[in-house]
Amino acid sequence: MSGLARAAEAPRFEPALMQRRLSGTLFYGACLAAIGLTLLAILLLLYDIFTRGLSHLDVDFLTGVPSRFPDRAGVLPALVGSLQLGILLAAIAFPVGVAAAVYLEEYARQSRLNQLLRTNIANLAGVPSIVYGIFGLALFVRALGLGYTLIAAALTLALLILPVVIISTMEAIRAVPPSQREAAYALGATRWQVVSGAVLPAAAPGIMTGTILAMARAIGETAPLILVGAVTFVTYLPGPFEGGYTVLPIQVYSWAARFQPAFQEISATAIIVLLALLVVLNVLALVVRVRLSRHLQW
């Protein structure tokens, strides 16, 4: 039969299948290698920082002030500055961000203006942090006359993390089932009573977690603070309206930029303190999420 003869002449299937399987295996290997290489880079980074910096990490380092002599230097002003900055900026960004998200999710009608508000927040999240620094310099430091102070820095970073707080709060609010709202409305609650009594408590775990993670991001920021006047050599603890504050990332930068092995070592130690602070915040976010959502069920 001619059909069979033609089939016999056709290229055989098996060898090609072997090759196809081989290229699949090679590709899988490449995927694994990519993951492995990325993990290796992270491990190398952490290994380098800990071997360089761990030996300097002691009480003297945590309670000392910067010095011309790396052996005597400490990070107290920077650590305190970072903590103050974190608390201040959360106190600013949290209420504004949550209120904005509540408006966009629960109040805003489908209008052009509200669509603009939404698009704008997504776009703000993509603006480089250093541009916020330039804006903070022009608005808070100069126009509002706050000068190079911690409060100007906190306001600048609050603007920087506001889109993140708003977006994560909107997601948390969206995850609250409509039945919760409907039940509250059915009991005769006004819109605000629905929001404050039913929606916000149910969305609280997501909101808190999002805010704490945004705060962690701000605490690791360096570039905008250089523009709004964080300084590199602070030997005392300034108040929020005084000048001359510093924070951990700035301290890391100033020591790293000296390119002397001894200063690079204490720069690594300051990085360990910074990473520890970020780990604490991340764990806090996790704990808050678990504890607050314990009583929620629907």
Binding site: N120, N123, I134, F135, R142, L162, S267
Partner: protein, 301 residues
């Protein structure tokens, strides 16, 4: 609230609350307008002293050494060179990692690996800059490039690549996971291997999402500051050699604000002009990325 509240007062209260919430929601728009006004105003002042043509087409940048020259091309070229090196690292690694997470990894492996990638995304950029000068540069120098100096576009590009890798990995993974299962099953049922299914079905279907993630990563790389300040140096020369020390737009902004530059000087105005240029470049990339994501959504919804 109790029934004792008169309806009129209650309605007033509700309106006041709505007004406060609306004001909070408009902080974002005020910020955007503020950024644009500040940048435009100061850039205009800069252009009174330096012609826009000279700024946009000049190939010499010398803001601190006389004779001053403000041609932005060296800064833009350095910025783009570092961004391209970063993408050359982050695109293959990030995409392969995304394919692994979306197509091969078990749910358990994914739950383990994703937080680690997020860890990388959460490391402050100053730490990656430190990594560049203490590990990446010396490693390159001792292995393949003995002539490498302490500052180079290459070392900066590599760590910026690490920095934007999680962006590509996580957004591309989302795009691939959004491809309907039926497409994969159809391909497998026709006898394609899983690699062929990924290459010819999943990747083309997820292409606009993947492209969007790459463009967003490029935008991040262009706006990245601290890693570049530490690793690439502050030498504003026009070069395409990745072994050279260069100065990016962000590094110039940092250099001027760290020094004792008087705020009324031409250098300080140049800071705003460069900031405006940076803002427009990243805005363009972000809008392009948004547009690609929206196109991608239209396919499946």
């Amino acid at each position: 609230m109790t029934g004792a509240v008169v309806p009129g007062a209650r309605r007033w209260r509700e309106r006041a609350i709505e007004a406060v919430l609306f004001l909070s929601a408009s902080v974002g728009v005020v910020t955007t307008v503020g950024i644009i006004v500040v940048l435009a105003f100061e850039t205009f002042e800069f252009f009174v002293q330096v012609s826009p043509l000279e700024y946009l087409t000049g190939t010499v940048w010398s803001a601190s050494i006389r004779p001053y020259a403000f041609g932005v091309i060296p800064l833009v070229v350095s910025t783009l060179m570092i961004a391209i090196i970063a993408l050359a690292i982050a695109v293959p690694l990030g995409l392969l990692a995304a394919v692994y997470l979306a197509e091969y990894a078990s749910a358990r492996t994914r739950d383990l690996l994703k937080p680690i990638l997020e860890l990388l995304a959460g490391i402050p950029t100053i730490v990656l800059g430190f990594f560049a000068i203490t590990v990446v540069s010396p490693l390159l120098k001792s292995t393949i490039l003995p002539s490498l100096g302490p500052f180079s576009a290459l070392a900066a590009g590599i760590v910026v690549g690490l920095l934007v890798l999680p962006v590509i990995a996580s957004l591309s993974e989302d795009a691939m996971r959004a491809v309907p299962r039926a497409l994969r099953e159809g391909s497998l049922a026709l006898g394609a291997t899983s690699f062929e299914t990924i290459r010819k079905v999943v990747l083309p279907a997820a292409l606009s999402g993947v492209m969007a993630s790459i463009i967003l990563a490029m935008s991040r790389a262009v706006g990245e500051t601290m890693a570049v300040v530490l690793a690439a140096g502050t030498n504003p020369t026009l070069t395409l050699d990745p072994r050279d020390s260069v100065q990016t737009m962000t590094a110039f902004i940092v250099q001027i604000s760290l020094g004792d530059t008087p705020q009324q000087s031409i250098q300080f105005k140049a800071l705003f002009a460069v900031g405006a240029t940076l803002f427009l470049m990243t805005l363009g990339l972000n809008l392009l990325s948004d547009w690609l994501v929206r196109r991608f959504r239209n396919v499946y919804e």
